[in-house]
Amino acid sequence: MICTTARVQALNSITGFEQVSHIALWTAQIILFTTLAIFTLIVLLRARLNFREERAAALISVWRPVLAAAAFSQGSTRSAVLPTVKKRDIVLFLRQWSAVQETVSGDASIRLNGLARRLQLDEVALKLLDHRRISMRLLATVVLGHMRVAEAWLPVWEDLDSQNTLVSLVSANALTQICPSRAIPELIARIPVRHDWPADRIASILAAADPHNSEEPFKSALLEATPNPQHTISLLKFVPIFASPSIDELVTKILINASDPSLIAACLRVLSNPAQLPFARKLVTHDEWYVRVLAIRFLGQTGTVDDTKRVVRALMDEEWWVRYRAAQALCHFPWIDLKGLRKIQQEQSDDFARDILEQAISEAKFE
């Protein structure tokens, strides 16, 4: 069917097609212009990236040998004339310097700080702390932390309680570098309430800290947290970092008085001292399977000949994991050889007990 233009126009005016078409055309045009703007932006971003990468490459080619010399040679750069850092390259340089700092420690770190002071990076970083962009403020915090700039304590301290997890963590790290004796107790005190702090990051800060600065505050925090099982649990996971007999004693006390199964399990997870065996033994028949499995695991690690019967009984536990850990424990007891294991297996009236021991014996051969 061939339509005439006149007919179509008449139809359009009658039914409002024109109106729809106009809106559609305008919408399509707006979208098209937006798309063109996005494409232009993409090209500009790529051009800016290429420009930045070229600048970074130029900066690195000049500064990498200087930074390496500063970090690894004994004082040879102290009197050397340093290349200048252009104002527009200062952020790039700070990033480069921080990246090198992250890879070194000890004297090399101190020498890099010396170089940074010669370049007055501390002053630059202090100014950057007021920058409107969060990434700049974070970079400044990182630099000030590495350089241990005491004047930065207060402004960085204010960020410790920031609701932004990243900001608070970077601040915590910097503060522990600037003044560990002041920062560590503050950090530990916040662990029970900062649920957003990833345990692995906090653990690395605590592990890097001098035990003299961290042990006592940790013990105090643990004592203070005792009335609140959840707070105690949040601290208990860091116990292995300290490997301290006095903290182990405290854990034992918490375990003795604990009634909450989650708290008991948290204590059992960090037991390491054979002196704690009597308390673990009492828990191999606990109502909660996750407590029993941890108790059996501890017996498997530190148990004595006297524990053999307890562990053998656990082979008949209703929970697979308890049976499995018990079977593994028996396989690892040095006083039970393969013959002994087979004898235990034959003595079991329970099929599950025999099967799990069979599996553990087979797996033990591969270890």
Binding site: T15, T35, F39, I42, A99, L166, V170, A207, Q359
Partner: protein
Amino acid sequence: MNIELFVNGIQWVFLLYFICLGTCYIALNISSFVSVQRLNIRNEVAGMPPIYTEFMYPVSIIAAAYNEETTICDSVRALLQLKYTEFEIIIVNDGSTDRTMEVLINSFGFERVPEAYRHRIATRPIRGVYLSTEYPNLRLVDKQRGWKADASNAGINVARFPLVCVTDADSLLQRGSLQRLVQPFLDDPTTIAAGGTIRIANGCKVSGGFVEHVELPRSPLALFQVVEYMRGFLFGRLGWSPINALLIISGAFGVFHKESVIAAGGYCRHTVGEDMELVARLHRQARLEQKPYRIVFLPDPICWTEAPVHFKDLRQQRMRWQTGLADVLSMHKQLFFHPNSGTVGWIAFPFYLIFELIGPVIEVLGLCIIATAAWFGWIDYGSLAIFVFLSVSVGTMLSASALLLEESSFRVYRRFTDLLVLMTVALVENLGYRQLTSIWRFVALIKWLSGSESRWDPVRRAGFGADIKTRIDVNKK
């Protein structure tokens, strides 16, 4: 007059649909941009306290394999080289009919062990569990054929660790990707699932099971999929994550809290969209029980996969996805506007229903009706052109915004020419390719409504740097 009124109405529906679609995608884009900016800041800062590796959760990696004799060894070797503190690899041989088992046993020195297998999730019978004499963290489960969901469930049953990473035996994980995907579980203990980005490996240089050099594919079909995947992952998924309404974690790369998956009943064996179904079920369980939980998407842990380069294979894949989506929305219809379903039931589900499930119907029917109307002279060709122009503009803008996200964050494709190619593809894909996939999805929906069963057929894949060969994926029924 009635026909004209009908056509006029259709035009309005079509126009409003595109405006709503654009608005929703712009909102998703904004959400994605905020997430990407946060991620950029996090990646830029070198001063984060380092990860204390002893606190990382150990992970069980589960890779299901069906008739993978030619690639399985490379895949397993690549998994063994992953950069992570403590992990075990569980290969599940899902009743392969080729030499997959033999190749595995010979290559990794597997020996059968008497595993006290726990049927925590029901699966097809297990024929045996094997331990590698060479790699203590490598196990093999041999079972009767039960397809991908069943194989993954068997892997979950034997997994020893609290987190399980489910992947395909023919996908390539980036070395550090597992660590990145586990981080959300450390950052927030209520996290129960995390998904990473899938990228197209066609054209990339692969060595030792890892993508060593990223390049764009030469096949136009694969190129279209590169942009499509960017769109799908960079804002299609990243945009949902901040409001905890992510509905899909790809079956090729996801990490899950094992006990949450077991409590939900594991992967469903009765749908071809088992990956999406599991996520929807995890949402449903937590939302209806009002438990705090997070399901997150991270754009930077990357898993590389091979895209189909034949129309037939692509059609099968797209139809399967659409059928899976229909299954999931239908199986979990209880979530729609449920008082406790939150953003999932009030935003994500209606969005997926209107724009992803019914979208192809509106698009195909709308274009057909307007084209027919133009043919019969009820509207002029100018109006038809305007609507085609609108359709192409919306599609191009969405792809362009995905490219912008990519450019402001990851820049996987480093060459300037790659960028130009991708921009061209973003435009060209709207001139036929998108309409074609819409037609396939439309057909899949009709088939689903008529109750015909979806099938997983063999997909021809070129292999990573290998000659063309037929590989029957474990997913294919």
